[in-house]
Subunit: 438 residues, 2 copies
C-alpha cells in the first residue's frame, strides 16, 4: 500500500492532530509553483493521473501501521491513532488545473480539501509527482519548440532517476510535445507512441557492419534506422547507403554532428537515397538543437535522452504545498506563512486566464466574461467525478495553451513574465489575514 | 511484470538476434562509469539490490507480449519469437562491485554474462538503477564530508523524480553517509533510520505558535524539533525557548541562516536551554554547509532536500552498458566501439585496488599481493549465490573505502585523478581487437 510513501513528519503531524483533537478540522492545501525554474517563462502542469491514483488508493496495511507504531517518535501516541490509520481513506475533494495547461509563478496547480490528517499525509507524494512530470513536460516543450517541426523522440529512460521516473518522464515528454518515446512501458501503460532504432551492441554482435545493417533492414524494412557510428561514421553511412531501400535512414550518435550530418547527407544523396532521413542523438539539448536548425544542418529528427529525462539544466522546481484555510467547527481560519521570500497567500483560490493576463482570485469569485477558470473539480467526497483525459488530450491542450500565449514566453531565457494579477477580494483577504497573524 | 521496463530497441534487437539465429550466442556486457560527473573524483557504486531484483524477476506477461506483437516494428517477426519472450527468464551470471565501493572513470560496476537476448533487454533498467543511486550516494558523501561530523538528514523526497526515486534516493543517501532520512518507506523497506520534525502547516493549524509548540512537545518530548520560521524566526525561537525542556531543539528553514542561527543560539542559551540544538534546512548544498562549518555557525544538524535528492549540480552520470565479448559456438569475439571520445575497451575485466592505484585487468588475471578484486560474483546461472549485504554494511563499506583513499579525492572540485592503470594483458587485447575491427 502507499501510506508510507511520505515524509515521517506528515505521520508525526497526523498523530499530533489526532492527539490534539483536530481530526475533524477540514484543511485546504494548495500545491503551488512558488518560483518558475531558471530560464523558464511557464510550466506545463502534468502528473494529475498519478495524484488521483495515489489519493484513491491511500491506505496503510497492518504491517505498515505496525512499523509506524514501533518508531520512537510514536511512543506516546495512543492506540486509537493506529486504529484510525488502519482504516484511513481519502474522503476529500481535489481540484486541479488540467494536464497540459501552462501555469505561472504563484499559481496553484492543485487544491486539496479534506479532514486535516487526510490532507497532510499526501503532501510529499503530490509534490514529487506533480513537480517532476511538470518539469519534464516543460523541458520537452522547450526542446520541441527549438526543433522547428522536426520530430523529437524521448530517449532518456537510462538516465532517469529510477526506471519508474523513465516511464512517467516519457509520459510527460509526450504531453510536452515529443513525437514519441523509446520507453516501451510508457507505450503499454499510457499509449504513448513508442519508437526506436538499434544500439551499438547490435552492430558489434555481427562480424561486419554490413551484415548487421542487412539483418536490421530485413527485420524492419522502411522502419530501419541504421546506427552508423560504431566504428567510423561516414564509412558506416556508405555501408548503409550501399544496401539501398527499404530504409528509414541513419542515426548519428557521436562526433561533430553538424559536420557529419552534412557529409552523410551527401553520401545518401549520392547513392540515390534522397528519401533516407538522418536522426541525431547523443547529449543533445534545446540550445544545440536550435543551433542545428538555425544552421540548416540536414537533420530530420532528434533523439533526446539525458537532458530531457532529467530536465538537466533545471532538475528541480520550487513547488510547495501549503495550508491556506482551516475549517474549525464551521469557522474558517485563513492561514499563511509570512516572509518576503517564502511567504504564502491565504485562502482557497481560483485562476482565471484572460487574453493577456491571469487573475488569481478567491475560489468563490466569478469573473464575468470569456475567461477560463483553470482549477476544476476532479475528486469530490473521495470519488473521481469522471475519467481523466488521456495523454493525447493533454498534449493537445499543451500545444493549444502555448499557442494562445505570446510566442516570446517560449524563449529559452527569461523574458517579461506573463502578468498574474490578484483580484480585489484576494488582495483584501491577504491584508486582513497577514494583519491577524502578526 | 518488468519485461517492458526497457527501451523498445532492446526488444527490436532481441527479435533481430532471434531471427538471425543468434539466440544461443553468449554476450558479456559491462556497465561502466565512462566519465565521472563534473567536480567529482569518485563515484560510490550503489543500486545492486535493485539490479538483482530486476534480473531475478525478468519476465513478460501474456498481455505484455501481445502488446509488443501489435507494434509495427514487430510486423515481420515470427510467432516463435513471441513464444520465446513469454517464457524468457534470466539464466546468466552477474558480477558486481559491492555497494558502497568508490569507483573511478573507466571502471565497470557490473558485468553481465548471458545469452544475448537476456543480456540485451536489461540494459535500460540497469543503467537507470545504478547510475541514479550511485549519483545520490556520491552526492551524500560530498555533503556529509563538508558537515564535519554533524549529522546530515536526507529530506528530499518531495523534490525527487517520482516518489519511488525518493525512496531509493533515501537509501542511497544513507549509504553515502547520511544519518537518516525523512522518507518513511525507506525505513520500512530498507531499515534506513527515519527522522523528522514538523512542517509549517502544523504551526499554522493552531491559533498560536506557542500552542503548536506545546502540542508537539507533549507528543515528542525530547524528540521535538520546533520549526520556528513560520511567522518570525527569532520570535518563534523565543516562544520555543520559553517552553523549556524537554526539547531536541529548533529548525531554521528560511532567511539568512548563519545570522539567525547565531541569534537563535543566544536566545536558547539565554533561556538556559544550552542543550537545545539547532537544525538548518532550506535549499542547502555541500558548499553552503562547508561555509557554515568554516564560519563556526552554531548549527548542530543539517536537513538537505532538493540538492541531494536530485544531485542538483550533477543530475546525470555518463554510465554505459557495452558489449565486450561474444561467445559464438565456443569462439570468443572481443568487441568494442571505436572513437576517441566514446570508445570502449573489449573483453571482460576485473578491477584490482592497490594502495595507491587501481589496475584494470582482464577478468581471468590474478594479481599477486594484497590488492582487492572488486568485481565479485552475485548471480550464477540465474541464481543469487548469497543474500546481499544490507544498507548498513554498504554504508560502512563506503566510509571505509573513502577513508583508504587520499583525502583530496573528497574535494568539492576536481583534483588529480586516482590512477587507473591497464594491465599488460588488457593493453595487448585492446590493441589486437582494435586492429581487427578497423
Amino acid at each position: 500500500m502507499n501510506g508510507l510513501l511520505t515524509d515521517l513528519y506528515q505521520l508525526t503531524m497526523a498523530a499530533g492532530y489526532f492527539e490534539a483533537g483536530k481530526s475533524r478540522e477540514v484543511a485546504t492545501f494548495e500545491l503551488t509553483v512558488r518560483r518558475l525554474p531558471p530560464n523558464r517563462n511557464f510550466v506545463l502542469a502534468c502528473g494529475l493521473p498519478q495524484v488521483v491514483e495515489y489519493l484513491l488508493g491511500l491506505a496503510f496495511s497492518d504491517e505498515e501501521v505496525e512499523y509506524v507504531r514501533t518508531l520512537p517518535q510514536f511512543a506516546r501516541v495512543s492506540p486509537r491513532f493506529f486504529e484510525m490509520l488502519r482504516g484511513l481513506r481519502f474522503t476529500g475533494d481535489l481540484f486541479a488545473v488540467p494536464e497540459g495547461t501552462p501555469v505561472f509563478a504563484g499559481e496553484p496547480i492543485l487544491t486539496l480539501r479534506a479532514p486535516v490528517i487526510e490532507a497532510q499525509i499526501p503532501e510529499t507524494y503530490l509534490l514529487a509527482a506533480v513537480a517532476f512530470q511538470s518539469l519534464i513536460a516543460t523541458k520537452a516543450a522547450r526542446i520541441v519548440n527549438c526543433a522547428g517541426g522536426r520530430p523529437v523522440i524521448e530517449f532518456g529512460t537510462r538516465r532517469a532517476h529510477t526506471a519508474e521516473a523513465g516511464v512517467l518522464g516519457a509520459r510527460a515528454a509526450f504531453i510536452g510535445g515529443c513525437a514519441g518515446t523509446s520507453n516501451t512501458l510508457a507505450g503499454f501503460r499510457f499509449s504513448v507512441p513508442v519508437m526506436g532504432t538499434s544500439g551499438h551492441s547490435w552492430v558489434m554482435s555481427f562480424a561486419s557492419e554490413t551484415e548487421a545493417f542487412r539483418h536490421l533492414q530485413k527485420l524492419l524494412g522502411d522502419n530501419a534506422v541504421q546506427l552508423v557510428d560504431t566504428y567510423d561514421t561516414l564509412e558506416g553511412t556508405r555501408k548503409a547507403a550501399a544496401l539501398g531501400a527499404p530504409l528509414w535512414g541513419i542515426r548519428l550518435d557521436s562526433g561533430d554532428i553538424a559536420t557529419l550530418a552534412r557529409e552523410a547527407r551527401k553520401i545518401l544523396d549520392g547513392a540515390g537515397m534522397r528519401s533516407a532521413k538522418i536522426m541525431a542523438s547523443g547529449d543533445l539539448d534545446e540550445r544545440k538543437i536550435r543551433a542545428f536548425v538555425a544552421g540548416g544542418v540536414p537533420i530530420d529528427a532528434f533523439g533526446v535522452g539525458t537532458d530531457l529525462a532529467t530536465s538537466g539544466d533545471a532538475p528541480s522546481m520550487g513547488a510547495i504545498y501549503k495550508l491556506v484555510e482551516l475549517d474549525v467547527g464551521g469557522i474558517t481560519r485563513y492561514t499563511a506563512k509570512l516572509g518576503t521570500e517564502k511567504g504564502t497567500l491565504p485562502g482557497s483560490k481560483q485562476i482565471f486566464r484572460l487574453a493577456d493576463h491571469d487573475i488569481l482570485a478567491r475560489s468563490a469569485e466569478c469573473c464575468a466574461g470569456s475567461e477560463e477558470a483553470l482549477l476544476q473539480p476532479v475528486i469530490l467526497g473521495g470519488r473521481l467525478i469522471e475519467p481523466l483525459p488521456g495523454v493525447h488530450s493533454a498534449r493537445k491542450r499543451a500545444a493549444e495553451g502555448l499557442a494562445k500565449l505570446p510566442p516570446e514566453l517560449q524563449s529559452l531565457d527569461t523574458v517579461a513574465p506573463w502578468p498574474v494579477r490578484h483580484s480585489a477580494e484576494l488582495t483584501q483577504l491577504v491584508e486582513t489575514a497577514r494583519r491577524n497573524l502578526q
